[in-house]
């Protein structure tokens, strides 16, 4: 094994699945074998898992673990101090319950759960802690319910244990909306259960009557079976079918005919007539049809609701961007307090590398702030006293003192969450169309039923009621009302499992009609992270030496430019630079081996040189150039650039094959634009445009009749995302961009786009088939029923069968056709699977 893994193939971290840097030298013993690790963080986590005897986790998992944040792990002392805060009674009172036996119980949100094995790992690890009485983890909503004995263990120890195996626990306070959602889910499940269980019973009884085609059954037994059916059907109609009646009543009050109206008339009418028939021992009973119809409709609604809740949940993790604690100045002393206790006017110290805990204004200190979580811009912004900072952003360079201006509901993050909520309130356009069709259909059915009733009243008054009911039952808009929602539910679910989260209903419809697709460049087609592309030496010093010096200077900065050099620091253990000085927005100055160097913007680095160099002197225009200078002599140019996303080229090619016009629309004006468009074979490129011009361009396309998909990620893309027919945000996009997008590409894998387009087309096809089938069925059944030719059991079977056809057809959408070219890097995957299967 060791021979194979030391071969020249790129190694993948056994824990998180990321590439292992060459000569990283981190490993951990799992099941008696030494496995490669990419960083000390993964190593620590893997060792903790192995030490707990939970190595089985690696055997069962279906996805790689999340890579623990190494930078965060460097501050583990600070982290533990933060966790200690959770032991305070004042902090605990909002989310910890004390049970009658004195033990405590709390709900936590766990970050980092990727598969069922994580749940197993967490549950076993936590249950093994002394003092923990119960630990259960919910995989669907990533919540843990933990009970412990406060005499034996502290909450901070439990949180520390979660942290030690690579997850993060946050206290969970359900807000009002989440409580409502939970209550809605439970109510819907109960309704479904009532309808399901009783329908089975009623069908059993109904079968007895249907089987009696020779009328051998004595009347007293028939009457008894009818009464029994009545008893069983009543809770179905009054409890399970209640949402339909409520909705129909609401629709009638607003004078609109939706599908709920005929559904309610059918359920209510058939039930009332059946009760009448039972009481008077005459005519037919339809208890079985009523309850089965209700059950089918409830199944559709239930699935629809599940999908809606799932997309709605995306917003919950947003607030976790805020740190748990904050350092405030109270009476001249620095005190660590829970971030939830911050008040307007508090003075907070934010150390470099820490997250700003609330919106505020800088009082003292100069630093750059990484706002990528909010804006998608990967270069930090320089901020000075008087500038505003937003909670959830990261302080990169120097300590800052800020005065808190907004907390809680007023903060910018909360407003983003509210936007997200609003985005989920809208009703899908396809569903609206279906409702419109249904409106006409309902009117037609009602008119027909009345006409039939009148005609039969004149011919044979004793049959009138039963024939009319037969018409209502057989034309029950069951299939019609199931046609669209089931197809949409199945397709949305399939896409979600494949990394595309659809947040608005019109997406599937619009996707299938799209003609143009417009990409933003940075963060969409490219990864949005700087990496070192090229090094050109100018002086006698060789390439490696220049890189060593640059890496040494940049080693201790968390600035994205510095991060581009960090891989080099890890490859070679470089002696640290001394006497470092950071010129914000310009560059760095420091001493390596007794010699003073400067690195950064050409003008800044060469300011002491005989000739001051600028960007014009850079070797070419393809990226961002940094200059390294010593004692007035320029040493080397470093070119930083943003690498293309994996599979970007294949995805663009596929989209073009599907007949879409691919355009790149970017605010970037550098030569990198040309390079990217050439690599991706995109001939329509518009560069150097402002957000307004982006929007104008898309609107112009739309004026020419194009239906545009916009794919973007940053805050600068928001206007154009809002303007396009369909907007898709990348998974790593800013939250604001995600809230404004109709769909989110969670996996950030561009290959999913052509797949989604195919699936959307298929969805449209199936919806059309379903609607067509439902209409054909009704057109055939209606005249037969109206002429009194359809026996009640035939009506019931016909109605159920037509619904089953529709649901079955829709379920074909629940699986996405896998036509990915390369699922994973072929070079490394055989090695990894070998490692895993042997463990």
């Amino acid at each position: 094994m060791s021979e194979r893994s030391s071969a020249n193939q790129p190694q993948l971290c056994f824990h998180c699945g990321l590439d292992v840097p060459a000569n990283a030298g981190y490993s951990a013993e799992i099941n008696g074998q030494l496995q490669p690790m990419c960083c000390p963080g993964c190593q620590a986590v893997a060792e903790a898992i192995a030490a707990g005897g939970l190595e089985n986790y690696y055997k069962h998992r279906t996805g790689d673990a999340q890579s623990p944040n190494t930078a965060d792990r460097n501050h583990s002392q600070q982290r533990l101090a933060e966790l200690k805060l959770y032991d305070e009674a004042s902090v605990q009172q909002s989310f910890v319950n004390t049970l009658s036996d004195g033990s405590k119980q709390a709900a936590l949100v766990i970050e980092g759960i990727t598969c069922a094995a994580c749940v197993w790992l967490l549950e076993h690890h936590l249950s093994a802690l002394e003092g923990v009485t119960q630990a259960s983890v919910n995989m669907t909503n990533h919540r843990a319910q933990i009970s412990w004995n406060p005499d034996q263990i502290e909450l901070s120890t439990i949180l520390g244990a979660i942290y030690s195996i690579g997850y993060q626990g946050h206290p969970y306070h359900p807000n009002k909306e989440e409580q409502l959602l939970a209550a809605e889910t439970r109510r819907a499940t109960r309704r479904l259960g009532i309808a399901g269980i009783f329908t089975m019973q009623i069908m059993m009884l109904a079968a007895a009557i249907y089987a009696d085609s020779n009328n051998q059954l004595e009347q007293q037994f028939i009457t008894f079976i009818r009464w029994a059916s009545f008893v069983l059907a009543t809770p179905v109609v009054f409890y399970a079918a209640r949402p339909f009646f409520d909705a129909a009543w609401r629709d009638l009050k607003t004078r609109s005919l939706t599908m709920d109206v005929p559904v309610s008339i059918a359920i209510g009418g058939a039930y009332t007539a059946s009760v009448w028939a039972t009481a008077t021992a005459s005519g037919e009973v339809y208890f079985d049809s009523v309850s089965m119809f209700t059950f089918f409709l409830l199944v559709g609604r239930y699935l629809e609701m599940k999908a809606r809740h799932r997309t709605g949940r995306a917003g919950n993790s947003l607030l976790n961007l805020l740190p748990a604690s904050a350092t405030v100045i109270r009476d001249g002393q620095e005190v660590l307090i829970p971030a939830t206790d911050l008040k307007t006017g508090d003075r907070v110290i934010v150390k470099p590398g820490h997250t700003v805990s609330a919106d505020g204004i800088i009082i003292a200190g100069n630093s750059s702030i990484d706002e990528s979580a909010l804006t998608g811009e990967y270069l930090p912004l320089n901020k000075q006293p008087g500038d505003k900072v937003v909670g959830g952003t990261i302080n990169v360079e120097n300590p800052l003192e800020i005065e808190v201006t907004d907390v809680g509901a007023e903060s910018k993050l909360s407003s983003v969450v509210r936007l997200l909520d609003r985005a989920h309130q809208e009703k899908p356009a396809v569903a609206k169309t279906a409702d419109k069709i249904a409106g006409y259909f309902v009117a037609a059915v009602l008119i027909t039923a009345i006409t039939v009733a009148l005609i039969w009243w004149n011919i044979a008054p004793e049959h009138a009621l039963w024939v009319t009911l037969s018409v209502l039952v057989v034309t029950c808009p069951c299939a019609l009302s199931l046609a669209t929602p089931t197809a949409l539910t199945a397709a949305t679910g399939a896409l979600r499992e494949n990394g595309i989260l659809i947040t608005r209903g019109h997406v599937l419809e619009s996707l299938s009609h799209a003609t143009h697709i417009v990409f933003d460049k940075t963060g969409t087609l490219t990864e949005g992270n700087l990496s070192l592309q090229q090094t050109i030496t100018l002086d006698a010093l060789n390439y490696t030496r220049c890189l060593d010096i640059a890496a040494a200077l940049e080693a201790h900065s968390e600035h994205p430019i510095a991060k581009a050099f960090h891989p080099h620091c890890e490859e070679f253990q470089i002696a640290p630079a001394t006497d470092l000085r950071n010129h914000i927005g310009e560059g760095l100055e420091g001493t390596v081996d007794g010699i003073r160097y400067r690195i950064g913007k050409p003008e800044f680095a060469s300011s002491d040189c005989p000739k001051v160099l600028s960007y014009q002197d850079a070797p070419d225009n393809n990226g961002q150039w940094l200059l390294l200078v010593t004692e007035q002599t320029p040493l080397a140019w470093f070119c930083l650039n943003d690498p293309l996303r994996k599979y970007a080229a294949q995805s663009v090619q596929k989209l073009q094959q599907q007949g879409l016009t691919v355009t790149m629309l970017t605010g970037d004006n550098s030569a990198a634009v040309g390079a990217v468009s050439q690599q991706l074979n995109i001939d329509q490129v518009i560069s150097g445009v402002s957000p307004e011009e982006k929007l104008q361009h898309v609107q112009q396309l739309q004026a020419e009749g194009a239906r545009v998909i916009m794919v973007g990620d940053g805050i600068n893309d928001i206007p154009v995302l809002a303007g396009a027919q369909i907007s898709i945000a990348m998974g790593a996009a800013t939250d604001l961009a995600k809230t404004n997008a109709d769909a989110v590409l969670i996996s950030s894998d561009l290959q999913r786009l052509p797949q989604a387009l195919n699936h959307a087309k298929k969805t449209q096809r199936i919806i059309r088939q379903n609607l067509g089938w439902a209409l054909v069925y009704n057109i055939i059944a209606l005249p037969l029923a109206a002429s009194g030719l359809i026996a009640p059991y035939m009506a019931a079977i016909g109605m159920s069968a037509s619904s089953l056809v529709v649901v079955g057809n829709a379920l074909r959408l629940s699986r996405l056709k896998q036509r990915l070219t390369v699922a994973r890097q072929p070079a490394s995957s055989p090695d990894v699977t070998a490692v895993k299967s042997q463990s």
Binding site: N56, K59, H60, C115, A116, A117, V119, W120, H124, V137, N138, M139, T140, N141, A182, T185, R186, T189, R190, G193, I194, I197, F198, M200, Q201, M204, L205, E218, F221, F224, I225, A228, V231, L232
Partner: protein
């Protein structure tokens, strides 16, 4: 046939019991997570229950 006067009420009572059990399970949160229990059955944390000689046989089989 008179037996149905007894059997059908029993069936209804049983269905009622089923509903009661169902409500209880919904309210106690058993339907909140529909994913992980389906996986947890597959985890081999019952390894200590397998006799050692059986383990040996399984290992031999794998080596073939």
């Amino acid at each position: 046939m008179d037996i149905i006067y007894l059997l059908i009420p029993i069936a209804i009572i049983l269905a009622g019991l089923g509903i009661w059990g169902f409500f209880w399970s919904v309210n106690s949160g058993q339907y909140d997570d529909m994913e992980s229990p389906a996986h947890s059955i597959l985890f081999d944390d019952d390894e200590h229950l397998i006799p050692d000689d059986a383990k040996q046989k399984a290992a031999d089989k794998q080596d073939d």
